[in-house]
Symmetry: C3
Subunit: 215 residues, 3 copies
């Protein structure tokens, strides 16, 4: 019924896959830096890691712009363009939320890192890896259809798990934490991390859409 | 100028309407459970209702997946697919926000349920009903164009009313509540309920788009 | 390769440009009112300005509806319709966030207006102006392609600057403010203003998309 994504733009435009792979690779790196940041103690160290992650975000922005310029210059159809553009934007969101999580840790500077913050960050690292795997399968989508679907499902489960961790932690801190400002800090960091897993699942949803259209 | 949504996919694919009706019916049920939850007192009861609503959310997720699989397997055009997919996703959002509202009540466990929480929950119940009515009119959109438009308008008004209720309540609690943690809890529950009415209005906007394209 | 946006709908449908210009003009006016509001002191004055801004939002809603009705009645293609509709919706978002910022100032009623609130409001005013300039260039997009691109870039930079202002301010208040409720108020107003600049950048992203498709 439709041309595969492969026959539509791989032979003509392999650069788009390379660009998308670079972006998803950056999001993987950013998630690792977030994990490392959480092993440090001082606000200065958190700010250092935040600035490293911000550099990654900046790199991703430049790449997103390159994707945009390449889309503008190439002769592929507008429809394909929009899918690439959507994928690029949603990958960017993931990096933005990782950046946002790191930012909150650095600028709110909670006195204690709650264990659920570590757990959620581990899920973000796993999710960014799965997304990167999925992006790397796009260039031969027909052969990898089943695997991409599995990744999509795993991202959905991961988000549910993050939800659980988030809920239990929030319930606990609202029961036990009596310092309103510290409560607010932990709650907001947890919430941004949970949104990061939502953004990761959103990439999964776009991958789902791409399977519908092209696989 | 265009084929109606009817001639485009009703005869071929009535299952999509059935699926969408099932999802909107679930959102109506979830909104009723939210209303019932607010009539209970203890955190345990709130957690029970939250888990019931979460089951509804899970059911809706499975349905969304069925819609996705059916879209993938069927021979209707990609354009129609995207509209069905968008509607399915936005209905899912409504259920997610109802779930989120119930979750916050359960896991923050505010000492007192503010009257505005009840009022907003009543608006959510009314909105979920109107959305369900609208979805049930889709299978013969041409005949129901005027009614669907009215529903779209009513959802817009409902959201405005929710806004008013939210504003007055926030103003009041920031004037009177001196316990920062209790203030935070009530504020966040009110805010999630208000976002639920936004999500309900968003379904209205998709219905609007569908009228533009097919009615 | 493609028809310009000009040859596609200008000659037939100049009214769409007029509508969009009216909406972006309203967002500019709303941003000015926000700036004026911040020069006043009492909650009553803030509420007055909030109601003035809300009237603008209402005007914008009516215009959005007119755009919707006009799209429905006209013979331009569905694809173009969606772009106009998207632009109209995103412009609406900007006004909604300006409204939201003003609302929070009015209903939270912070004891002191933090200097960063003024700085962010200045960026919103500048952003709404740039967006308005961009919208005014749409009717002859081919001639203005370079200028629109520059506006898109400037909106991206503006959002980054807003991010910086926001971060420094949050860091400072979490270090120094000991009143949890006042901290919450300032944090939430800053956050809504920062989201306003995100929404402004989002309009920029749509302008970017429109260049990709039509210029």
């Amino acid at each position: 019924m439709q041309n595969s994504i492969l026959s539509r733009f791989t032979p003509k435009e392999p650069k788009f896959f390379n660009f998308l792979k670079q972006v998803s690779s950056i999001s993987k790196e950013a998630s690792s830096l977030l994990g490392e940041a959480l092993k440090t103690k001082t606000q200065e160290e958190h700010l250092d890691y935040f600035h490293k992650i911000k550099e990654k975000e900046h790199k991703a922005d430049i790449l997103a712009n390159k994707i945009f310029e390449a889309l503008e210059a190439s002769f592929i159809t507008p429809f394909d363009r929009e899918d690439i553009s959507e994928l690029s934007n949603r990958l960017d969101d993931v990096i933005d939320y990782i950046n946002g999580s790191s930012k909150r840790i650095a600028i709110y500077n909670p006195h204690v890192i709650h264990p659920a913050i570590i757990k959620l960050s581990d899920l973000v690292i796993a999710g960014a890896k799965a997304v990167d795997d999925g992006i790397n399968m796009l260039s031969s989508l027909r052969n990898n259809k089943k695997d991409v679907k599995e990744i999509v499902n795993s991202l959905h489960k991961l988000e549910n798990e993050a939800d659980e961790v988030y809920e239990m932690a929030i319930r606990e801190i609202f029961e036990k934490e009596t310092n309103a400002i510290e409560l607010m800090k932990t709650k907001e960091v947890l919430s941004e991390l949970e949104k990061t897993t939502d953004a990761i699942e959103h990439v999964g949803k776009i991958l789902k859409t791409i399977i519908v259209k092209y696989a």
